[in-house]
């Protein structure tokens, strides 16, 4: 008999192929031309528009929406890509509800912002579906820059440098480029192999050589890079995962949420992916929400997300929390893990309620247990593998405004660098700005 949501343990194919396909389709369907025209018409073309300021890459949003309004979505896409070469991915994954759309004057006026993210996707999809690449390269400078990490930060930096006429060697520990676009972002935000297609499209500019499977640290040292290249940019993200520091953490089926998501993203047959009947996720950020929602979409019967503080302190936006609950995830606030129980593998997770006094979190003494076939840990990632020579700040590579590290000739940006807010769009902005600064420094 085939499996269903009530099948005990950790099994594959709890849902039919058709149900899985439905569950993992686009979270927000793309706008068609008519919908885009109607949505674009709502923009007031504000002066010094608040949405532009709220966008970490400062896309000229009123201008690109006006270009959609006037029937030139290709020009709109150019306006977007001029500022953000991964504008296609950002249109899909940006938490617009806390960025551009949050400050839209129509959000203020009637609680319904202009749908900036979806319009951005309409424009970028239109241009990207055409042959060719919209940017060319300046005259070759003869300089070569090493970019380490092919995530959003590294890709954005590499593209801008290539545009300026520099050659780029792009190293990544993994064989496949894309960083968390490829391995981390929730499947329903980037369907149809978009992450890979976007990398291929971006690389069409030329002058960027990808060296996959080469990790900084193994036989590639920062000294080698500094010696061999005119400049170095590090965009190595956060490879490490924070530990729970709870008894029983080493039991079976206690997993890092990012590993689970990576496996899911790389799977080409979701019906072979195993998921528990009862899944518990610990954490309150985007990763926790994504792990919880995707567990549910795979067919887990009960998925509970447990966060140690209250709703407002949560890293995931209210919109993301609502998304989770609308998919059937239960969220428990104000509870921290107190133990993982089970014989070999996890069977129950024990929690203690918390209270907060003067910013300090403490247990109330009241405890409860949740049945769990799988426990996903999503309590934050950390930078690993940063070269020793570089100063750190709060566990991340310390940088000044344009990504300059404490060592001259080495820049850093994205999740591995201090100061950002761990979003795709921030990584893109930092990669771009570092490229501009590198360009100014080496030419």
């Amino acid at each position: 008999m085939s499996n269903n949501q009530q099948t005990p343990g950790v099994v594959a194919a709890r849902l039919s192929g058709a149900e899985l396909e439905q569950n993992f389709s686009d979270l927000h369907a793309p706008l068609d031309a008519h919908e885009a025209a109607v949505a674009a018409d709502r923009c007031y073309f504000c002066y010094d528009a608040p949405c532009m300021t709220a966008c970490p890459t400062t896309i000229d949003i009123p201008l690109f929406i006006r270009q959609i309004q006037t029937g030139t979505p290709d020009a709109a896409a150019r306006t977007i890509f001029d500022q953000n070469i991964l504008g296609g991915m950002c249109a899909r994954v940006c938490p617009t509800e806390t960025l551009c759309e949050e400050v839209c004057v129509r959000e203020t006026a009637e609680g319904k912002p202009v749908e900036i993210g979806r319009l951005q996707r309409f424009a970028t999809d239109t241009l990207m579906s055409k042959d060719g690449h919209p940017y060319g390269r300046a005259e070759q400078t003869g300089k070569t820059v090493a970019v380490v990490g092919a995530g959003p930060a590294g890709l954005s930096c590499a593209h801008r440098l290539a545009m300026k006429g520099h050659d780029v060697v792009l190293f990544d520990a993994r064989a496949k480029a894309g960083g968390l676009n490829e391995f981390g972002i929730a499947a329903y935000k980037s369907v149809g192999g978009f992450a890979k297609a976007e990398v291929d499209w971006l690389m069409q500019i030329g002058g960027i050589r990808l060296q996959g499977g080469q990790a900084l640290g193994d036989n590639l040292t920062i000294d080698d890079l500094s010696g061999d290249y005119d400049a170095v940019f590090l965009g190595i993200g956060m490879g490490g995962v924070n530990a729970l520091r709870t008894d029983g953490e080493d039991k079976g089926n206690v997993l890092d949420a990012v590993d689970f998501i990576e496996e899911l993203r790389q799977s080409n047959d979701l019906s072979t992916l195993k998921i528990g009947r009862n899944v518990v996720v610990i954490g309150g950020g985007m990763t926790a929400v994504d792990a919880a929602v995707q567990s549910k979409l795979l067919g887990a019967e009960n998925v509970t997300m447990v966060y140690r503080r209250d709703r407002n302190a949560m890293g995931a936006s209210v919109y993301e929390q609502d998304l989770a609950t609308s998919r059937g995830v239960r969220i428990i606030y104000n509870a921290q893990p107190a133990g993982v129980h089970g014989n070999g593998a996890v069977a129950e997770v024990e929690f203690e309620y918390t209270t907060q006094q003067g910013g300090k979190l403490s247990g109330t003494g009241e405890k409860f247990r949740l049945p769990a076939d799988q426990l996903f840990k999503a309590i934050g990632q950390k930078v690993t593998g940063a070269p020793d020579a570089l100063k750190l700040n709060g566990g991340k590579i310390a940088v000044t405004q344009n990504g300059r590290t404490s060592v001259s000739g080495i820049w850093a940006g994205g999740d591995c660098a201090s100061g950002g807010d761990d979003l795709t769009v921030t990584a893109v902005a930092e990669g771009r700005d570092a490229a501009e600064d590198i360009h100014a420094a080496i030419s």
């Binding site: 031309a33 008519h34 025209a37 018409d41 709502r42 073309f45 002066y47 000229d60 009123p62 201008l63 006006r66 270009q67 309004q69 006037t70 029937g71 030139t72 290709d74 020009a75 150019r78 306006t79």
Partner: protein, 435 residues
Amino acid sequence: MADLTTNFAGIKSPNPFWLASAPPTDKEYNVRRAFKAGWGGVVWKTLGEAGPPVVNVNGPRYGAIWGADRRLLGLNNIELITDRSLEINLQEIKSVKRDYPDRAVVVSLMVPCEEEPWKKILPLVEDTGADGIELNFGCPHGMAERGMGSAVGQVPEYIEMVTRWCKQYTRMPVIVKLTPNITDIRGPARAALNGGADAVSLINTINSITSVDLDAMSPEPMIDGKGTHGGYCGPAVKPIALNMVAEIARDAQTANLPISGIGGITTWRDAAEFMALGAGSVQVCTAVMTYGFKIVEEMISGLDQWMDEKGYASIDDVVGRAVPNVTDWQNLNLNYIAKARIDQDKCIKCGRCYAACEDTSHQAISMSPDRVFDVKDDECVACNLCFNVCPVENCITLEPLTPGSIDERTGQTVKKEYGNWTTHPNNPSVFKAAE
């Protein structure tokens, strides 16, 4: 990349987008910011004689018409020419032109309809290094009461006379700005040509009252309980302006006279339409007063993309391209027969086409109990009303019938050959001639 550089009656600019003579061009501060934003040229706000400047009202000077979502569709104003002194304006023009040699700086002028004042002001303008002058024969309020503006523009003899003086006293190109407040725009255009004008620009604003305050019983804008007619501009006037531009472009006498198109231009597409009907440059006022200078970026990118797509390499390739297809009604092909078609996949079942056709037109659309709307070919006259009221783009189209097929409405075979009213059997003059 299409080449957008423009040479209009000898006045060069990097693109055909100019700001019309109006508040956006009333001072150096504005014009510098406009040039920074990318505008190809400006026509400076109209200057008057030396001496104490005119004074404006100190209450509201605009009235407006809005569409859905409070989109500004039409604007009306009772502003006069510049209310700043001639000396300051001239100094500012000189300083801007010095810093922006590649942009077009045209100076709009309006002085009394006598030779002396024109003779006096022209050398002062020439001294600024400006690229040309525009004669404001268009302003319909305030100045007209003083014998200037549209009071001159409505009398072709005056237009010709003043234009001739200007051509006599300056070597700068002379553009004559025409008022639409006349019955036949070709008269004033021909007069400008006869006076030696290098170009005409049109339209200036249209006499209008935008609304009435029903409590105060006064037209708006209302100044202390009273109002006056003002000049209407913005998207609402575009159709009127397009027609007037086309009339001049296809008139045998004025066909080669350069035209700067003005009136409701808001997007690159509006501009391209003016250019297709013969405008060699375009001027914009209300759209920048609504959205700010930045819209020129969309105008440039849009025009550029469209020209590339169509294979037009330069502005000259576009200007006047639609003029041969502007004709008189009597030349339209009456043997061309079309029928409305409703795309059922696109239809959102609002029923607006049905209401329009059933209640007011030809009862040519049927409605089923489950809200499927279909065209009845035996009733449809292809008037296009359903298409115009349909909220979904391209849901309703007008498809021509192929020659040889039967028009179900008339029962007649669709003819292949062209046939217009001049040869139609129902035309009384044809009937007479046959007698």
